[in-house]
Each structure stands twice: as structure tokens, then as C-alpha cells.
């Protein structure tokens, strides 16, 4: 039961994480009306994946793995772009968010960018959906113990969806000024993970062939075949044995972006500090 649970959880959580973030972001940025088309898109993508999985099974074909990896890579990179856009948008509006708490005159997301985010949720489900649907059917029909395997797969998928809902709820409830600081940081990790995962799938698609030596051994943290391991892989893109190029992509994205998220915070504090130390020059001598 555990092996199928772990795979369904890992695949499912990648999609539900993005959908949850997109939904929370739209609500946070004053576009609650975008939720309906978003759910429509998610349902449509899920239905398309089931249709393809059942169709492949009926004609006795396997999911073309290489094309699947290509699809995951392309959509993964689009998702990195979308999440990066959210981070930048939140940073630029972080000051405005604080100031207009009472006035409620926040600048809502433009219609175009809402549509793009709705499209992102759709693509996120499509990205993992084909593989997951094919896997679910196989787990039910071909497993050594179909009941246990099927139950594991269903539990894993349900857990992934519950996590996505929890992320959405948490994202919506968290108070505005903390929202940016915490989410901004988490989003950087998520996007860096997505980038590393895209590098991983690009390798499996045959697009990347260099720097495939093992960078670090994370098997102590991301234990293969465990629930925590699949969560770390699914949500933060951590592989048990990341390659040099995966680690490089992760660090090169995460470090500058994390600094970028921290930056406006300092900027806002500077005036306060300036007032405090305005009189004596002792502050400089301690530095």
C-alpha cells in the first residue's frame, strides 16, 4: 500500500500545491471571481487526463514516457515563471498592501494576469495528471494486490488534494503583512524546486545530458519510498540524489530570489533606523 501511496502523493501534491497557491494568491489580490474559471480549468484538465489514461489502456498502449517528460519540463518552466511573477508582484505591492489595509483600495490583479494564473492551474493539473491517471489505473488493475495498491493510490491522491486545500486556506487566512514575508520565502523554495524538477525531467526527456554527477547525498532526508520523501520531492523539488546541474539550478534561483524577497523589508526599515541613530555617530563606529 505504501509504494502506491507514496507515488500518488508525490505526483498529486505537485499539482495541488500550485493550484492551492494560485487560488490563495487570486483571493489575496482581490480577484475572488477568478476562482470559478480556475476550478473549471482544473476539472477540465483532470477529466482530460482520465480520458487519455482510459483511452491508452483500451488500445493497450503505454504512456509515451519521453513526451510526458517533455510536457512536464515545458509546463514546469512556465510554472517557475508564474510563481516568479507572483513573488515579484507581491514584493512590488507589499508596501501598498500595508498602507491600504483600512482603505481597502488595493490594486487588484489585472484581468490578463488573472487569466494567465487560471491557465497555470489548468496546466499544473495537466502536467502531473496524465502520469497519475495512468498510474492509478495500473495500480487498480495490474498490481499484485490490487486492493491494497488501489487503496494506497487513492489515499495518496486524496492526501495531496487535502494538502492543496490546506495551503489555500492557510494562504487566505494568514494576515496581510505576514503573508508576503512568509509566502514570499516559501514561494522562492517552491519555484526553485520546480526549476530543479524541470531540470530533472529535461534530463529524462533527453534534453539535458551534462553535469549528471551526484551533487550531494540527501537520502538521509529525502528517503526513497517514504511519505516524507515524496512530500519533499513533490513540494520542494528535492531529489534523494540531486545531480550537479539540479543543485546548481536550485541554488542559482533560490539565493538571488531569497535576497530579492528580503530586500524591500530592509528598505522600509531604513527610515526608522535613520531616526534612531540620527544624533550620535556611534552607530557607525560599531559597524
Amino acid at each position: 500500500m505504501v509504494p502506491t501511496l507514496v507515488i500518488a502523493l508525490r505526483e498529486g501534491v505537485e499539482a495541488s500545491l500550485i493550484v492551492g497557491i494560485v487560488a490563495a494568491f487570486c483571493v489575496k489580490e482581490g480577484r475572488r471571481d477568478a476562482l470559478r474559471p480556475m476550478w473549471f480549468g482544473v476539472a477540465l484538465a483532470a477529466a482530460a487526463c482520465v480520458v487519455v489514461a482510459v483511452g491508452l489502456r483500451m488500445v493497450g498502449q503505454e504512456l509515451p514516457q519521453r513526451e510526458q517528460e517533455m510536457l512536464e519540463t515545458v509546463i514546469g518552466l512556465i510554472a517557475v515563471g508564474a510563481v516568479t511573477y507572483m513573488i515579484v508582484w507581491m514584493r512590488q505591492h507589499a508596501r501598498g498592501l500595508k498602507a491600504s489595509l483600512e482603505g481597502h483600495a488595493r490594486s487588484a490583479l489585472a484581468v490578463g494576469s488573472t487569466a494567465a494564473l487560471v491557465g497555470m492551474a489548468f496546466l499544473a493539473v495537466l502536467r502531473e495528471g496524465f502520469e497519475t491517471a495512468v498510474f492509478m489505473l495500473a495500480a487498480f488493475q495490474d498490481s499484485a494486490d490490487p486492493v491494497a495498491a488501489g487503496a494506497g493510490a487513492v489515499i495518496g491522491l486524496v492526501a495531496a488534494i487535502v494538502l492543496g486545500v490546506a495551503i489555500y486556506r492557510g494562504g487566505v487566512r494568514i494576515n496581510l503583512s505576514r503573508f508576503f514575508r512568509i509566502t514570499g520565502f516559501v514561494l522562492v523554495l517552491v519555484a526553485a524546486g520546480l526549476l530543479a524538477t524541470s531540470v530533472h525531467t529535461a534530463h529524462e526527456a533527453g534534453w539535458i545530458t551534462g553535469m549528471q554527477g551526484q551533487a550531494v547525498d540527501l537520502t538521509w532526508l529525502v528517503q526513497p519510498g517514504t511519505v516524507t520523501g515524496s512530500l519533499l520531492t513533490g513540494m520542494l523539488g528535492l531529489q534523494p540524489e540531486p545531480t550537479v546541474i539540479e543543485a546548481l539550478a536550485y541554488v542559482l534561483y533560490a539565493v538571488p530570489m531569497a535576497l530579492y524577497v528580503v530586500w524591500p523589508d530592509r528598505k522600509r526599515r531604513r527610515p526608522e533606523r535613520a531616526e534612531v541613530r540620527s544624533a550620535p555617530s556611534t552607530a557607525e563606529s560599531t559597524a
Binding site: V51, G55, F122, E131, A138, S143, E204
Partner: protein, 124 residues
């Protein structure tokens, strides 16, 4: 919303490539060689294999492995073909046309034979 269009094209692409795989292996008749591998907790089994050059069908079955669920064939660092998400009892196959040379078999997270070798010899 352009969603229906996107779906249609993705479905078409997946369908077309699936159909493509089918016809190429059908057309080859008896010349395609089948190699069977099992995934175990140790890794790939067998970890070494030999086959003549040409089309090779890889049949992979998970034989009770808990943490090994993936099988890859690589040339150097390039993944040529793979099968993922094979939990206990599941099997999958893919075919590759290989030239003579040495290829790597990779069963991620295997304890002993995570990597194996496939030797492809000159066509007889």
C-alpha cells in the same frame, strides 16, 4: 478560454506518439529482441545484459521492490528510454533501437545494483 484547444492538442500529441510507438514495433516482426528486467530492492536484475544491435524491447517488472520504481537506459549521461512509477506487480515496456556499444541500466535507489551495464554487440 483556450483550454479546450490546449487539451485537444496535448491529447492529439500523446495519441500520435503512442500510435507511432505501436506501429514501429509491429513492423519489425521477429527482429526485435526482448530483454526482461526485474526491479528489486537491490536494483536492476539482471544488472548485466547483452543483445545484438537493432531494436530492443525492454520489459520491466517490479518484483516486490519497495523503493525502486524506475528503470532507465542511458548512453553516457543521456536518458534514451525509461519506465517510471512501477510499484509492486506493475510492469511496463518500451523499445529502443540501439547501435553497438555499452549502455547504462539505471534503477534509482537500488541498494546493490543501482547501475548495470547493457552491452550491445554488432548485428549478427
Amino acid at each position: 478560454m483556450r483550454a479546450p484547444l490546449v487539451i485537444a492538442s496535448v491529447v492529439a500529441a500523446l495519441g500520435a506518439s503512442a500510435a507511432g510507438c505501436g506501429s514501429s514495433s509491429d513492423g519489425d516482426g521477429g527482429s526485435a529482441r526482448t530483454l526482461s528486467f526485474k526491479l528489486t530492492d537491490a536494483g536492476c536484475e539482471p544488472a548485466t545484459a547483452t543483445a545484438p544491435a537493432g531494436e530492443i524491447e525492454f520489459e520491466v517488472t517490479n518484483d516486490g521492490a519497495g523503493s525502486v520504481t524506475e528503470f532507465e537506459v542511458l548512453e553516457g549521461d543521456e536518458v534514451l528510454g525509461e519506465k517510471e512509477d512501477l510499484t509492486e506487480g506493475l510492469s511496463g515496456s518500451f523499445s529502443l533501437t540501439l547501435a553497438p556499444g555499452s549502455y547504462t541500466l539505471y534503477c534509482p535507489n537500488g541498494t546493490e545494483s543501482e547501475r548495470g551495464t547493457l552491452k550491445v554487440t554488432e548485428h549478427a
